[in-house]
Symmetry: C2
Subunit: 330 residues, 2 copies
């Protein structure tokens, strides 16, 4: 079936008068309307998090020495959660007095090993449990990506298996000795509000989560999902450290004018944060070097110190540190 | 903790000699290495799809009259699956002789109602089952987004509840009368290879899926996840119609030079498709008007007929139609 623009235009023009919503449609075969399916039909399974779980005390004890546990969340995929997590980890680990860990709980799409330049590594058992992969002396990573026979192999898992591996990442991994416990443990999550999110909140119930950083892009389609994530955090009583707006504008390398690739039709993250009373931690402009650094497993802020995106990253990290150091978060 | 660029640079420079992988690290407290955790540890739950399910015959009968059932997949989130699904649906429905349906099975992040401009609608019961929302006389949509008390409310569901609603979308929705059955039913999926994907493949096991369109962006981090999705399709025996490369380049509206926002460090989708022997259906350039059209629930190709992105969309849709009309897919 050939389809030219002219043909589509003509067909759409003909179709235009029929652009009606269900209520007004004249489709003769359609039966008269009844009351809508009630929204109580979609009650959520939130109370499951409240239930006791035999492994919670073990996880609580294992993670007891870790000073800050930070969730990196987003509603929508592809907004830059893993990129932000990796850059935050690299920046925090640049202070050699800080011990930093990253857990990749995106079980079906683990991208942290690639982005942090350690995808060829494997996880080894030790006396204290599974040893995470160390990419610097004070920066370690755990991901299912280290355990796959090939990086192209899909992890085709339903919820219970995903929950099982997340539990193992929390209770079986040697997250550092008592003499030198982690200062920061960052959790990179998949998009949405499903099994992985419920499990992590359930297992960390008594572990005092420092807070969540929510990553978004400026367009309304992404902000809509962020509002759902904020609803999730509120229901789960996770403190929200703030929102990071990613891909906020693109500066053309040729003429240096800025374009809004993902247009903030409803005012972007700034307007949403004001409306909901949540801190906006900062906006990071789109820089093609960020994606490149991720493909090569490099620290973007390290190799591009003069980029406006590096300045934005560092300011956001400073904001997060101030919030973590404030008495409220202690 | 204040963090300046100079400080990070200095600290990173000091840290550099220690940038070692686990095998070489000198951390005295670390125990000697043992054999890695074997990859058989992460065996997948693929066989579950092979199991019989009491509802499969009901779904098979309900969808029997629908000519083409197309899955829109991606490994990574945020690559433009829902955007592509909506534009494909609008373009197919521009032929008034075609009946088109869209099912949004991204249960925790339903964006189809927003993108297709019908988010205020509700689902109503009728004699033949739940009536989907009609946005044109020959274009109908079903999404959990129509059933939420508020668009900001999170759907905090584990796998079984998600599977339940997907089953209802297949077996309880009135997808058109016998006299005028759907020509196309498009399934917009969440990223990954988990519950939603296993469920849809399980329920459509005997319904003759026409094929999957896999959407990606050009950078390696996204292509890596696409390879996983291809692995999933092969294991599930879903024919792959081809790959769509989205956000392939950005033409500055000020100086008209092209920039690669998501840099194809490994050759982009073209190189991957050649390597794996899969058709590349086409590349769509980044056009900020696409995101804007989605925020306003409009058909991008209809309101931007002269954009290079519209030409790319139409060529891809033509390619898909040729594949569907070829004897192999009948």
């Amino acid at each position: 079936m050939p389809m030219s623009i002219a043909r589509v235009q003509k067909a759409r023009a003909q179709a235009r008068p029929k652009l009606v919503l269900a209520a007004q449609t004249s489709r003769s075969a359609r039966p008269p309307r009844k009351a809508p399916i009630p929204s109580t039909h979609v009650r959520d399974c939130w109370p499951i998090v409240q239930l006791a779980h035999i492994d919670i005390p073990i996880v609580t004890e294992r993670l007891a020495g870790i000073r800050h546990k930070i969730l990196i969340l987003s509603g929508k995929g592809g907004v830059g959660k893993s990129t932000f997590t990796s850059q935050l980890a690299f920046a925090l680990a640049s202070d050699e007095n800080s011990e930093v860990g990253v857990v990749d709980i995106d079980v079906c799409g683990p991208s942290i090993p690639k982005i942090m330049g350690c995808e060829q590594e494997q996880v080894h058992p030790s006396g204290g449990g599974w040893s995470p992969v160390y990419i610097m002396d004070n920066l370690c990573v755990m991901s299912i990506g280290f355990m796959l026979p090939s990086p192209d192999e899909a992890v085709i898992w339903r919820g219970p298996k995903k929950n099982g591996i997340i539990k193992q990442f929390l209770k079986d991994v040697d997250w550092g000795s008592d003499e030198r416990p982690l200062d920061y443990l960052l959790f990179d999550t998949p998009p949405g509000t499903s099994d992985e999110h419920l499990s992590i909140v359930q297992f960390l119930r008594n572990s005092n989560i420092s807070g969540a950083v929510i990553v978004t892009t400026p367009q309304e389609v992404s902000l809509q999902d962020v509002r759902k994530e904020i609803d999730f955090c509120r229901k789960a009583r996770i403190p929200i450290l703030g929102v990071v707006e990613n891909m906020a504008g693109f500066v053309c390398p040729h003429c240096h004018s800025e374009s809004k690739i993902f247009y903030p039709t409803t005012g972007g993250a700034k307007a949403m944060c004001e409306e909901l009373g949540i801190p906006l931690l900062g906006s990071i402009p789109l820089d093609p070097q960020i994606g490149k650094a991720c493909d090569f497993g490099q620290s973007f802020i390290d190799i591009n110190p003069s980029s406006p995106a590096t300045k934005a990253y560092l300011s956001i990290i400073e904001n997060i540190n101030s919030l973590l150091d404030s008495p409220k978060s202690q």
